[in-house]
Amino acid sequence: MLMETPTLSDEKLNRIILTWSVASGVADITPIIGADLAAVAICQFKMFSALAREYGVTVTKERFIELLSTLVAGTGGWAATIFGASTLIQVFPGIGSALLWWQPPAIAAFTWAMGQVLKSYFPLVKEGKTWDKNSMKSAMKEALRRAKSIDWKKELGNLINWEKLILVWKSKSVIALGEEGAGKTTLSQFLQKGSIDGKYMRTTAPQKLEGRQFQLKNLNLKIKQILDFPGSNIAVGGAWKDSVVESWNDNPDANLVLYLVRAHFLKRQNRQTIHRVENDLKHIGHWLSLVRRKPACFFIVVTHCDLDQDYRDFKEQERLGEYEDAFRKIPVIMNGVLACGGWNRVKIAVGSLKTEESAAELVVQIFSQLPL
């Protein structure tokens, strides 16, 4: 019985090559010298074996040595490059930067070219022909011709799910605003460290805190940085405004603005708080009118709910939605929300920052309302 030789699809081969080329470029970003080389070598070996499988060529000891010698030569080349780059960095840092920036795309291009050469190598090997300098040269010429004729935009577009990639890389910067004692620093520290020590000093100079990536329930959160502002009302018109407007103008969906307010002060209609919230939300509404592209949402975060007996009762009865609705109906919130574009733009979250568990619940409540 004759075995049917599978038809080789050029499209499939190109996809394999392109996938591993991009992977090797990304692998090269590995920030540890040596580990990056190993990662790139693994990608190239994976491509080699995938192509060998497609051509039905067995990776024998002989061919493996052939491949290893290529890799050793490549490693030597890269070692020389790294040595040269590190020497040059000491004299002129820019040359080093140029090499570092150009290295990942260069590696990807090299891997792609290597894949194209393998497309000429494997048929020869399969036919039992010899592989010499001339075959290598003609294979490289063929690779160059393909590089010119290929529709890169289309090929890369087919290869990568950009939407998914963007989502993975999308991280948020958080700006915490609100009157004094509303919990801005507590929330900021929780986002930064995941813990609450309950002994915070009053924030005077605004703090820029490094973010982190962490998992809360089913949410994978990636926080780039947190800006913790003082609650003083003289910070509103200048410091708050500058940061919020600038960050919204920069990227409205990557900068999450949280306006914190104390539940019990709102419910008791504390005159100072009511005046402050009214004023602050009016300002935020005005800043929204100044930005080029408005954010999908910003948050009113009602904190200190643990001090409200109603909250504890509603929570026990799992009726937090009704408790939240009560805040939506408070006139100062209603008017403020109107000034900021309505409930489509303004989201609300209620909870407490008293313990790590309650803070986690509040953070989940905020982030799970973000549009994907």
Binding site: G96, A98, R202, T204, S243
Partner: protein, 175 residues
């Protein structure tokens, strides 16, 4: 409005009274809202955009260009039993750093006395240690700028060399 050479900001202890603001050693009342906001904006600009050059439990020092913000947590507690802060914005001197540093410490002591914020001697020593971290920073700034320019030039040179190398390689290969 005066150019701000230096300024103090201390939040009110009772959360009701206005914050204390001094600009160029003169108290600024609520009537001059613009000047008060300007100082706070400058402080924010330095602490958010600048780099933190010193940090201890009670003192944080930020530097942005030639502007310095000293954020001090005093021993005085506010109505919420939180340690109250005092922020001082000042311009880094071009020379005579020691004289400038003593002047800064003296002005901080005076402000603390006037505003009834407690800054004990050991806290002043911490501030002094933090200020010493600023010594030579002015020179470092200009050196950094020079290096940055060199870096850009060498980056372009690197790109040009790389392109030339690639071109030669391609030519050799296509021969």
């Amino acid at each position: 409005m005066n150019t701000i050479e230096n300024g103090f900001w201390a939040q009110s202890l009772d959360y009701v009274s206005p914050d204390l603001i001094w600009v160029n050693e003169v108290p600024i009342t609520e009537k001059d809202e613009l000047q008060r906001e300007a100082l706070v904006t400058h402080v924010s600009d330095v602490s958010v955009r600048g780099s933190k050059v010193f940090s201890s439990r009670s003192v944080r020092i930020y530097l942005h260009h030639d502007r310095v913000v000293i954020d001090i947590t005093t021993s005085t507690e506010d109505a919420d039993h939180r340690k109250a802060g005092v922020v001082y914005l000042v311009v880094l001197p071009k020379n005579d750093f020691a004289f400038w540093m003593e002047g800064v410490l003296e002005r901080i002591s005076n402000f603390a006395k006037e505003s009834q914020r407690e800054i004990p001697t050991d806290l002043l020593d911490t501030i002094r240690a933090g200020l010493l971290a600023l010594k030579g920073k002015r020179l470092t700034i200009s050196t950094a700028q020079l290096l940055q320019q060199l870096d850009q030039v060498s980056f372009l040179a690197g790109v040009a060399l790389g392109a030339a190398g690639g071109f030669s390689l391609a030519r050799w290969f296509l021969r």
